[in-house]
Homo-oligomer: 456 residues x 2
């Protein structure tokens, strides 16, 4: 069972002059060997690619810890942001009940899951309205231990737990996921003897879903993490193929980077399944932060846009069909949903409504996806579809690895470093300055220069 | 208490050559009188602008119905999509507890709220896992009554309720919001004697939040809808000002349309508050569907992108700073949050963490917003900030009207019809064809032509 990409509608033969010309694509395919070679040469650096293969022992440990948490926790709270949050949210939504936290305990195969990825004071207060610290286990995730948002949350949670239960009991209620040696969190973890998982060397935040960052929350919520890794391994192998036409990640990267050259500075991802909704968020970080770069005066980057089918047919598709030729749309389709639901007869007297009865919701959502693909295509806009036979742990593992490798290949094709994020330093440093962190006094002056504001 | 726009950073004096030149802006301001005049001339057509003034009686009715629902329902389920869903979701998230549905009944000032805006079979099944039909009131919202998704949901719900409680009791459990006379829903509503609210003439889906579409769900959840309308009226008056520099909606439209001319085909909206998160979704429909148009061969439209501060600093800001000059960022800032939360001391031995202690989450999130504005600005990207003194029913009413009028003014400046959506017809018709609706047989042939698919 494998996911496939249908890219018929990226080509000019389907969408007309705004599509990719087949000769152009063929020429690029010829040259794509370079990207395969250069990515292979990085294999020792981009250690996230090895995660499906080298975690036998870690998976055992994760499962043991998860079993312990499951046996005693009613809530599991992840404190993390960006790459430490988006993967866990996406996987939970994909593989567990859509209203997991609202289900009664006996219908839920694990504790409630909260992923706290913001420092809004209203939301922080709201969390404590719905969890009971007595039956909650926290998992703080930050590789560097210098993420202000996560550390602020950690201080809050630690103070509460230390006051309620004392230093010696912190380790029962708090798990750390961080760098093996460096940073502020590992020091805290050692001091209190916390169970600690490592974010391996060469695994950046946005590529970390298949390491303990993502695997622990998934295992705690009863997800088959070995199947996820199996799916990822399978996709990794497919995407090492020298033939571009057999290599889904490279083909994805080639199509998108070519489309970018033709002016598609926007890439919409539009899953037709509520379960895949947050994969768009996860992908948006992966694609934006990896490829949005300034190199030798050259600026690259395609802005990811999150949409949801069919919902956003009633919100965005007017723009996607009649609007400018500045985007590609990537649909995520599902062949078999995990529920079937027949539209019953209840207004047979009205033929304008009754034609729906007897069809399933499944038929309706699939028809709408195909119809939207068609409408976007005939309006001349490039689009492709990633088709999942069904949403399960294996296909989700495949999808994660497919998009990670597509991003990596796109980095090679664009000749940029896909693994840094220098552009966020300015904001971080200014935050430190505004909070009066020692050493950042001068920074503040930069901001105070501009005084005359234009407001309305 | 009014919201304001700070547009200092849209100008070249702040962001450099990629910003709007002040002379250019001044020239446009001169000519903006035309847009004011043409929008005023439409006042009789765009009836959504009158909603703050002409609903005295309707508000009384809504409040009475809401009181009845509140007295007996534990869940209130909206069946609607697009404009019938995005406003209710945004307002609920803005003005009620962030985890409303998870709160125990005695801490919730109204029933749980579910807005079902998709036809995913897994999600439909999940809804019935968490609601009890016995204590649920449904509100089906579709102006035309021809929205397949909503009608499919309605048939499902009707069948369940008719089977359980019989025809004569449907009216206690189902409320309709639709056109006064036309369409399929009004017929059903009359047949069963349902309580029915009208979507007035001249109020399209995406401009309908301040009519019963949005007001009923809000009132059911205990929101002060009169305050919302008061805020909207206040903003409507401000935005009728002949002086552009005193007219926030017109200034917003002028800045964005000018930025579009300079290549900003992307408009990011980035609230720094979880409570405003879904305003980005609501706005994305409003802006995309209104302005994404094909007129006389000319294509217009700026693609809205949803982001959330500070969360997406760790996801998108790398792209917003180092990436191409193809976007504007509109921050939504909040001066006073409804909770204050101090970061406690819990790791004073580590100065790299301890500098956070003693600050509040409020200071942290505000510092991060200002720091991100600064980083986006010094990297040369246009941005502006809508500042809400606090999030309450009045400022939310202001925000809704501000963005609706900004969209309307943008429509005038772009010389397009902001109130239709012809581009979605193709997809609708193809869906009908795929579902075998009589009269659409020919349509199907268009799709079956292409047989050879390119897949990987």
């Amino acid at each position: 069972m494998r996911i496939r990409i249908d890219y018929t509608n990226m080509l000019s033969s389907a969408v007309g002059s705004r599509g990719l010309c087949e000769a152009e694509l063929a020429a690029r395919i010829e040259k794509a060997g370079e990207a395969i070679a250069s990515l292979r040469a990085k294999r020792d650096m981009i250690r996230w690619r090895e995660l499906p293969y080298n975690q036998g022992e870690i998976v055992k440990e994760i499962k043991a810890v998860a079993e312990d948490v499951r046996s005693r926790a009613e809530s599991f709270v992840v404190l993390g942001i960006g790459g430490s949050a988006l993967g866990p949210i996406a996987v939970q939504q994909a593989l567990n009940h859509p209203r997991w936290n609202e289900l009664p305990k006996d219908k839920r195969n694990g504790p409630k899951l909260y992923v706290e990825d913001n420092i809004d004071p209203e939301r922080m207060a709201a969390l404590f309205d719905v969890i009971d610290p007595e039956t909650t286990v926290f998992n703080v995730i930050t590789k560097s231990g210098s993420t202000s948002e996560t550390m602020a949350q950690l201080l809050t949670v630690m103070r509460t737990l230390l006051d309620l239960y004392g230093e010696e009991h912190l380790k029962e209620r708090l798990i750390a996921t961080t760098d093996r040696e460096k940073g502020n969190l590992i020091g805290i973890a050692k001091k209190y003897g916390l169970t600690t998982f490592c974010v391996p060397e060469g695994v950046g935040g946005r590529f970390s879903e298949l390491c303990p960052v993502g695997l622990l929350p998934a295992a705690v919520c009863g997800i088959d993490i070995e199947a996820m890794l199996r799916g990822a391994a399978y996709m990794d192998e497919l995407c090492d193929n020298d033939s571009v036409k057999e290599n889904p990640a490279l083909m994805y990267a080639l199509l998108e980077t070519l489309a970018m050259e033709k002016g598609a500075n926007i890439g919409v991802m539009m899953p037709y399944a509520d379960s895949l909704k947050y994969f768009s968020d996860w992908y948006a970080q992966l694609w934006a932060e990896s490829l949005g770069k300034k190199t030798e005066g050259r600026r690259t980057g395609q802005t990811p846009v999150k949409a949801l089918g069919v919902t956003d047919q009633h919100s965005q598709v007017q723009l996607y069909t009649d609007g400018p030729f500045d985007k590609t749309v990537t649909f995520l389709g599902v062949e078999n949903y995990r529920n079937e639901f027949t539209i019953p007869h209840a207004a047979d007297e009205n033929p304008n409504v009754a034609f729906l009865s007897g069809h399933t919701f499944n038929e309706l959502i699939s028809a709408e996806r195909r119809a939207t693909e068609h409408a976007v295509t005939v309006s001349g806009h490039m689009n492709k579809t990633i088709l999942l036979p069904e949403v399960n742990a294996e296909t989700i593992g495949q999808l994660i690895m497919l998009l990670e490798l597509a991003t990596a290949y796109a980095g090679e094709l664009l000749r940029i470093n896909a693994y840094d994020q220098p552009g966020v330093e300015e904001g971080k440093n200014m935050t430190y300055a505004l909070l009066g962190r020692p050493g950042y006094e001068k920074k503040l002056a930069e901001m105070e220069e501009k005084t005359s504001r234009m407001t309305v």
